[in-house]
Amino acid sequence: MNDILFNLPKCLTIRNKESHNEKTSTLTFSLPFEYSIRPGQYFMLWVPGVDEVPISVSGYHGTHISFTICDVGSASRSLNNKGHTELIGLRGPFGNGFEVEYGKNALIVAGGMGIAPLRFLIQCLTSNITSSQRIVLIQGAKTCNDLLFRSEFERLPIETNFCTEDGSYGFKGFASTKMDLLLGDLIQSDFNLEIFACGPEIFLKKVLYVAQKNKIEKNTQICLADRHIRCGFGICGSCFLDDIGLSLCRDGPVFRGSVLLEVTDFGQYGRKSNGLKYQFH
């Protein structure tokens, strides 16, 4: 519990708000001071009177911290509807975050909202990029409209590959399919590669499958988001993954592909807030 900035929710007002589409926006807050926060870590965002939900850090610079939120229900909706004077409680940072080795080539695979923590990762990687280093992004989403941060990424020194399910922009199909197409080549060209992925678990299962096929699962870091979070610090038991019993909230949310191969529920079953298992689809 030593590296947690706010153990109890600290309420802040929104400093800046950027809408990406009808359902998604990025909220920026100003922390009272600079702090060490890693990509892949998340905060619990509390809308008093509504709910408190886990949201990844999608950007962090100086004291400015951003969260990119998709409206899927009560809390996310009211987060996105908040004005500049209303208070939102922040508790965190929680979770392990990605292990980042600067200078190493990186393949970043995002499905849908999975881009949120990866955007912060891309910010970090590109701010320290070397001339020989390749950073390849494969970003997938339903439609062109859902390709968050697209123009931002296009301005960065990275190789972008956009995919949409409806073909409205870039490759038509899943990011995992695109990854399958690209990975062989990338590895062959002596690509000393670290893979970073985030998205719905079913999608991540496919990503891991592709990585495993290419024997690179140990260098694949996968950020999960499909478990119910209560405490955030590994004590209440609501977010654990079967069989080995790893908490998403504290042992994760980032796991090596080689570890996830032992997680029997990975990509298959989640648990509701009452602990009941349900199948992903």
């Binding site: 519990m1 600290k10 209560r230 590994g234 004590i235 209440c236 019993g245 807030s273 009452n274 602990g275």
Partner: protein, 310 residues
């Protein structure tokens, strides 16, 4: 090396550290893992007759100033039928205690039966009846503060199962020994004390209670002196014949010794797990400290029990 084998009545466990109810124990995986990492036994999350979603978030927050936790999970559980299926997957060597809540004797007995129908009547070493949750209406604490109701619940539970019945007591009463006595009179095999204390925190910026449920229960370091007194009072009343399990704020091996000196024959560990990335670290720290103390004092764990009463 001192032998740490512990008896709680007929129940024998390899060491006196038990994972407390509601900590990690929602799934077979975590219970397996906790036992594998060294606990002497593990208690499940409390389960009831029907599924309960529990309270919305915030439901569990950490209070750094006093190393304490405020929670109102609200007895979230998938109901005894589903939970029974979960428990089937627990390894057969795990010493398992199933925690149960309910509002009437029938309610609780039906959960016991439901669990035994699913897992057989030899898999769990005990049922721990949680009559003490301070943040759920109608079940929990309200039940556990009425000696007559406690008597009936225990009496009926004892009549339908051969498995040991432990009663988890609430500290939110004038005199914890009155409820303890009702439970023992009805045949309870052990008393577990304490559950969390009625508590609340308010965020001064939002001017709102932090927990979605408004009220919650306080656990962790803040409550240890209250737990120690509860065990001391119970031991003073019942002497060594009633097994007592101390819980509340155990952070160091000294805290365990304190509970034993007060009269506990075993302890449960909860909030302190928040301090460690994995249970094994705290377990080995606690057991090592305990061993060293016992060797130095030339006492067995058993001999330690109740010594503060002399």
């Amino acid at each position: 090396m001192s032998d740490l084998t512990t008896f709680i009545g007929r129940v024998q466990i390899r060491n006196p550290l038990i994972l407390a109810a509601g900590i990690l124990g929602s799934t077979f995986s975590t219970l397996n893992r906790a036992y594998q990492e060294g606990f002497g036994a593990v208690v499940t999350k409390s389960v009831g007759r029907h599924p309960r979603d529990g309270h919305p978030n915030p439901s569990v927050v950490y209070i750094p100033e006093t190393d304490s936790i405020l929670n109102a999970v609200g007895l979230a559980n998938p109901g005894c039928i589903e939970f029974g299926k979960e428990l089937v997957k627990i390894h057969s060597d795990v010493k398992l205690i199933v925690s149960i809540f309910g509002s009437t004797a029938e309610d609780i007995s039906s959960v016991i039966q439901c669990i035994e129908n699913n897992i057989g009547n030899s898999k769990s070493v005990a049922f721990e009846l949680n009559l003490s949750c301070p943040h759920v209406q109608k079940v929990g604490m309200l039940v556990g503060t009425d000696p007559k109701l406690v008597y009936d619940i225990v009496n009926q539970a004892k009549s339908i199962t051969k498995t040991a019945i432990w009663i988890k007591l609430t500290p939110n009463v004038k005199d914890i020994t009155i409820i303890g006595e009702a439970a023992i009179d009805a045949g309870a095999d052990a008393l577990v004390a304490i559950n969390t204390l009625k508590a609340m925190l308010i965020n001064v910026e939002a001017r709102k209670p932090i927990l979605a449920n408004l009220r919650g229960g306080l656990s962790g370091r803040a409550i240890k002196p209250i737990g120690i007194r509860a065990i001391y009072d119970l031991y003073e009343k019942f002497g060594p014949k009633v097994p007592l399990i101390g819980v509340g704020g155990i952070w160091t091996w000294e805290d365990i010794v304190e509970y034993f000196l007060a009269g506990a024959c075993s302890v449960q560990i909860g909030s302190v797990l928040s301090q460690y990335s994995s249970p094994q670290f705290i377990i080995s720290e606690l057991l090592t400290g305990l061993q060293k103390y016992l060797v130095q004092e030339g006492l067995s764990l058993h001999e330690l029990r109740g010594l503060a009463h002399e």
